[in-house]
């Protein structure tokens, strides 16, 4: 069990989303950076879909009331155990009574804390993701708060081996990390002023020539009114050649829509299931993790790729994650 001593800015339990109920208007929620979430799970021997803790900018303070095997992936929000800095992207054994806290954010915006066996929360409609507005899923349908306690599940065989090995090495120290970590492009997706790979959206052709070229050539700033639902962007106003009454239809993770006032919005994990604004673009799935790590105030721009390229990149990425999973299983054997 762990106890929340301080909640942090926005700390929620998430998994890979509540899929299958969008036809009833139920949003998917889920990790904003699905790759960091998946790798954090792989590192501790969990299934990739196991719930993790999504930590936003200012992290929580957590007291471990039993020994555990954990990993922190995603943004570097300065994780520390009993005051000592610990590395990201690696399995960590943490001893009962130790405290995991987060210091000043160094790079990125969101970190994912996984725990061997997973956080035990009630699954709603097949998912543990927190859906804040409807108050369902995750920990009692809300963000974590001071005083909350969460249990962990049973360790898998590979988790148990890594746990035992690190516990042995730790001796009386409050924690012990493996002597290896994930050092691939997964652990380094965070750049300043990134260029995100974007496909044309379904209504791209309805925008003026000027708007079409501004979209792919200019920088946009992430507005302070940005959250898990979507990132609002400020920059050149994007306009349609003529007003069109749109009929509501499905949107997905990464859809970029443009309301009448002309500022684009990138729809993210807590987006509504359907939307009625013209869609100028769609972020390639491989670049979704990069958005999750951007802070309000930062600059972003878009690089055009074809739908075909985006899909091939997605397949490549999935193959890399499979290889990584095999590599980790081999290390933890």
């Amino acid at each position: 069990m762990l106890k929340v001593l301080k909640s942090g800015l926005l700390t929620t339990i998430q998994d890979l989303g509540r899929y299958g109920y969008q036809k009833y208007g139920v949003i998917t929620s889920g990790a904003m950076d699905p790759e960091a979430h998946r790798i954090a799970n792989l590192l501790v021997g969990n299934d990739q879909r196991t719930p993790t803790m999504e930590i936003t900018l200012k992290g929580p303070v957590l007291e471990f009331q039993e020994d555990a095997l954990i990993a922190v992936c995603g943004g570097n929000l300065s994780p520390m155990i009993d005051g000592e800095t610990v590395g990201l992207w690696r399995p960590i054994y943490i001893k009962k009574g130790s405290e995991l806290r987060f210091g000043n954010p160094k790079k990125g915006f969101r970190a994912y804390l996984s725990i061997a066996g997973g956080f035990e929360v009630t699954s709603v409609m097949g998912s543990a993701s927190t859906y804040l507005r409807a108050e369902i899923g995750g920990y009692k349908g809300r963000a974590l708060d001071k005083g909350d306690t969460i249990n962990f599940g049973e360790l898998s065989n590979s988790s148990q081996k890594a746990f035992d090995e690190l516990k042995d090495m730790a001796g009386s120290k409050p924690y012990q990390t493996m002597d290896w970590f994930v050092a691939t492009e997964f652990s380094a997706p965070i750049q300043d002023e990134p260029k995100l790979k974007v496909m044309e959206g379904r209504e791209f052709h309805l925008f003026t020539d000027d708007s079409q070229s501004s979209f792919f050539e200019e920088q946009f700033q992430i507005d302070s009114q940005s959250d898990r639902m979507g990132y609002r962007l400020q920059g050149s106003k994007l306009e349609l050649t003529k007003q069109k009454d749109m009929i509501s239809e499905a949107v997905t993770f990464g859809t970029i829509q443009v309301p009448a006032e002309g500022n684009p919005i990138i729809l993210l994990a807590d987006r509504q299931t359907t939307g009625g604004y013209p869609k100028i673009g769609q972020v390639a799935t491989v670049d979704l993790p990069r958005i999750a790590q951007l802070k309000p105030g930062e600059q972003v721009s878009f690089e055009q790729i074809s739908h075909k390229q985006a899909q091939y990149l997605l397949l490549e990425r999935e193959k890399q994650i499979q290889q990584l999973a095999q590599g980790i299983r081999f290390k933890n054997r």
Binding site: Y19, Y21, K23, R202, S248, E249, A310, Q311
Partner: protein, 237 residues
């Protein structure tokens, strides 16, 4: 059935069935939904029906693992599969729709904007209620919020524009009018609809399967209940 495929990002395909809201297109959407309910291949994650199209979310990587051909784009394979399914879809008619009765306590504190609608339309409050109850309603799609129905078929004479000053909190169960649409709010949200009443029925039921009281294709009958009846039903739920 005339349709076109278009990608929505790299993990979804939209089956476009037309450009305007109509009963005929709605039935085509329903027919495809029913087909997928009966047989959903494992590479399909889920589908999202809308007024004029249906979006299929799929996993390109599952497709890749299934076809084991690196040169075939998963999207092309998915479109071919869907085309085959649609060609073989022999059903001519969708099943007879359900009719769901929604009891509403109209006016007063439950419908604070009934007077606005009455003033805007020039109809007496009683007449607005009567016309609202007599609509030939059909649920085209669910979206915007969990269990929120996009309903077609409201009597045009009670159409009223949204409020100039949207409310920050509209209570769950509120029945409203926005332009020529009517709707029911399943959860508390901000919004600019003209509120004419409230239903005690929960439209979003996260513990139930399905979690939405209404489904695309349903017919709706609004009935008028007193405050006493409203409270009694609410107590029961």
């Amino acid at each position: 059935m005339n349709y076109e495929f278009q990608p929505l990002g790299d993990q979804a395909v939209v089956i476009d069935l037309g450009n305007e809201i109509s009963q005929a297109i709605h039935e085509e959407v329903q027919s495809i939904s029913n087909l997928l309910d009966e047989h959903q291949p494992e590479w399909i994650i889920e589908y999202i029906p809308a007024f004029t199209n249906i979006t299929i979310l799929y996993s390109p990587f599952l497709v890749y693992q299934q076809i084991k051909q690196t040169e075939t784009l998963p999207y092309d394979w998915v479109c071919a599969q869907l085309r085959q399914m649609l060609t073989q879809n022999k059903r001519e008619k969708v099943p007879e729709p359900r009719t769901i009765e929604i009891p509403v306590c109209y006016g007063g504190d439950y419908g604070p904007d009934l007077a606005n609608v009455s003033k805007y339309t020039g109809l007496k409050e009683d007449e607005v209620i009567k016309k609202h109850m007599n609509g030939d309603y059909i649920v085209y799609m669910i979206g915007f919020a969990p269990g929120f129905p996009y309903i077609g078929g409201m009597d045009e004479t009670i159409s009223t524009p949204r409020r100039d000053d949207p409310r920050l909190e509209i209570p769950a169960g509120s029945v409203g009018i926005a332009g020529s649409q009517t709707g029911v709010y399943p959860i508390t949200t901000p919004g600019g609809w003209q509120l004419i009443g409230q239903t005690p029925l929960p439209l979003f039921q996260p513990e139930e399967d399905p979690p939405s009281l209404l489904q695309p294709g349903d017919k709706i009958k609004f009935t008028s209940i007193s405050e006493k009846e409203y409270l009694a039903i609410k107590e029961d739920k």
